[in-house]
Symmetry: C2
């Protein structure tokens, strides 16, 4: 099969898809869309993705949008290794953990929101950074409270990493962008450390992408 | 089976779960948590839901969080009538449409965000309302662009309503809260009209809930 991913080095949603593909051992080509410079709003990319966001996943010419829908699709076309358990209650727990960052914490800190805060409120860089820290800490704190009820063993759902771990790791990358200390979230921090010891996670980290390295060189 | 839902009349995520349960014909008890007065932050509810959000779905004593995870769980324990198609590409499309509001448009307009805008930026009611309109229009416009590429027939994925329609209808309810005209989004508006002609949608509408009626009476 042929897989392309339109993504961006800094995008957490692109990171999630990258990890899932690598955990499943599926080769793919990543096509960079620079969402900081607004490349996603150009007609060429809107033809690919009508929402004008990354990632877009293309499987043999068929497009799938939204990181969680992409990972669920991957799970259906290539079930092994499983990223979502088979038991319905465990599947629900994996999806719940995923959605806490996908639907609650992370949407508040993406570039289009930061840009609109500047435009609508005249917010300066410091105030926008504080906004990002607030919501990122909320997300980390939610995970820490949940893990106090059910400890990772050693990954969120058991012996192997999956959807939930991918999403928690993405939340931790956002914290790294904002230079947040994780002392108050030790269980989350340990889980992320465990993830980034694995090549699928480590090589998917935004700072390991060619786009980051090119930007850092300037 | 015994089902309880901790929800709130105004919550769009609670609306989604309510419709899904009614489409599947599953009876449930809804327990109101007033998220406008902050009831979700009280210790009693935090014991139920560590994220301190609604809805929480309880099935024979087992809790599931996050509206999309709840609907996926319902689909697994009670497959008929299907809310998500069986074909992997169609499942992915349904989830993509769902996530455009769940992960992108709707998270930006919930009470905790509006409250934080007031606190962090001193934003007044008008500015917060404009913020909500901006992101709600973005969400509606995304759906309209997508439906221009694949028209609802008559529902988003075909003959029967499902996950995607539930989520689009929720986005339209948000527009109603903000008194937005839908003239610029005729396909979205027609789809929502079609949904609300069905009792499962109509009786789940926030303005049909006891909590709204009690609030309106004061």
């Amino acid at each position: 099969m042929s897989i392309q991913v339109y993504g961006f080095w800094r995008s957490i949603a692109s990171f999630r898809v990258r990890v899932a593909l690598k955990l499943k051992g599926l080769p793919f080509e990543e096509i960079p869309i620079d969402i900081l410079s607004g490349e996603q709003f150009k007609p060429g990319y809107e033809a690919v993705n009508a929402e004008r966001v990354v990632p877009t996943f293309i499987h043999d010419g068929h497009s799938v949008f939204q990181s969680l829908a992409i990972i669920e699709y991957l799970e259906e076309i290539q079930p092994e290794p499983r990223l979502i358990p088979q038991d319905p209650k465990e599947r629900a727990y994996a999806r719940s953990l995923a959605l806490m960052t996908i639907a609650d914490a992370h949407p508040l800190v993406v570039p289009r929101v930061r840009n609109h805060l500047a435009k609508a409120f005249g917010a300066d860089a410091k105030v926008i950074e504080d906004w990002g820290k607030h919501w990122t800490i909320e997300g980390l704190a939610t995970y820490e409270r949940l893990f106090a009820r059910r400890a990772p063993a050693p990954f969120a759902l058991g012996a192997e990493p999956g959807l939930a771990d991918i999403c928690v790791a993405g939340q931790v990358v956002t914290a790294q962008y904002l230079k947040l200390e994780l002392n108050a979230f030790p269980v989350v921090a340990r889980l992320a450390d465990r993830c980034f010891e694995m090549p699928a996670f480590a090589t998917s980290h935004p700072f390991e992408q060619p786009g980051f390295k090119a930007a850092a060189a300037h």
